[in-house]
């Protein structure tokens, strides 16, 4: 039950509970706290750090939500076994791959402004015929084609004219214009590659593809992006952690 040393900076704008959670997480992934080991109890940890118990609880809760810790009443808080997989997060594939140390490339296949068809209008909660941007891109990892991506977003929200989508992620572009994505609903499935897919991805017609469609919502709860993507399953998969509440 040796505790990691945690240092707090009360003058920092970073919340105290977040500082604690961050350092605790680092200690866990670094193996300073063994898998299955029990943490010290909340009360004494809070006292040792000079924090109140609610703040300490909030810090621990962050890691519980990430699936790294498990709490049991009357027993204590333990580190979950097993290697830690990165969670599915609200980032784009570009961010995912960059973080993984790879160097993704992008080829913009098309980027045009057109009128929303019924499917798009439904997903983005717009009227049929509203102007939207429609972007088709091919993602490559090294020389290997990885995914074909089709994104649609309301033209009223962002202007993609002159945006260099080959070197800037779509989500990064949105963030730059002040659009923060907060919630997304997505569906993961599979289908056969059609001729166009096969051509772009260097697969044969009928090969299995992993598909994901996602609708993203901003700060104010409005739909800002709808995407339909297809991935080569030998090069990409979705990892996630589920936590029971």
């Amino acid at each position: 039950m040796t505790q990691p040393s945690i240092t707090l900076d009360r003058s920092s704008p970073v919340p105290l509970y977040f500082q604690v959670a961050e350092q605790l997480e680092r200690a866990i992934v670094a193996g300073e706290i063994a898998a299955g080991e029990r943490l010290d109890n909340e009360i004494s940890m809070a006292r040792d750090l000079g924090l109140s118990r609610p703040t300490m609880r909030q810090a621990i809760q962050v890691l519980v939500d990430k699936g790294m810790l498990v709490r049991r009443r009357g027993v204590g808080t333990q580190v979950v076994q097993g290697r830690v997989r990165r969670q599915v997060e609200l980032t784009s594939l570009f961010d995912d791959l960059s973080a993984a140390g790879h160097h993704p490339q992008t080829r913009v296949l098309s980027c045009e402004r057109l009128e929303a068809d019924p499917e798009i209008a439904e997903e983005l909660q717009l009227g049929v015929g509203t102007l939207v941007w429609s972007v088709r891109r091919l993602r490559l990892i090294g020389d290997q084609p990885l995914a074909v991506m089709h994104n649609v977003l309301p033209a009223s929200l962002v202007d993609l004219t002159g945006v260099d989508l080959e070197h800037e992620g779509l989500y990064a572009t949105l963030r730059a214009t002040g659009l923060a994505i907060r919630v997304a609903r997505q569906r993961i499935g599979a289908r056969r590659a059609d001729e166009a897919d096969a051509d772009l991805l260097g697969e044969s017609v009928g090969a299995p593809l992993l598909t994901m469609q996602r609708t993203a919502y901003d700060d104010s709860g409005h739909a800002v992006e709808y995407g339909r993507h297809a991935y080569r399953p030998d090069l990409y998969s979705f990892d996630m952690t589920l936590v029971d509440r």
Copy 2:
């Protein structure tokens, strides 16, 4: 900004924040609060219900985590647009389908006790050669084969002898023996159907299959189950909601 009427039962063992969250959620899915509409502020909602602000916050936080509400400092709390998809939760396919009103059937293909191979030992954090249960099942929806499922669990944790897995879900069986699953890590991908898959699922060899492998951990953080499943993508997909924190 009309608020739904919420009734509290302070004598109930159900936590107050949970009662509020439950009724708020019902009001949202029932459309009593329109999408995009702003909720009343925390302080006055708490006052109206006779609750403290932290309790009210906790209730709202539950729905924020589910992706139904969005909070913005200085602005307020709003209902997220878009139809609400059910979240990927820590339940089994059996529960999923039952909840959806369908009547899933199960055929147990094999259920045997054998020694863990290196892959299984690694995933379950056991020594190679440890006794495990290996269960292969076929899920059907009506007459349609839906998925082939292969689960492995430590024989020391549960005894599947005489358990009627055709009519009882695996997770339900685990719960019945006091094993509560708290955390799971899973990976979703796709692959071609091999001959065995094709035969069982009524597909042709080479057809795309949606795959999921999952390792589940219990209360104490120990691995209790490892599963590799393959789904017919025309009949099943994974829906989930992502929330930025």
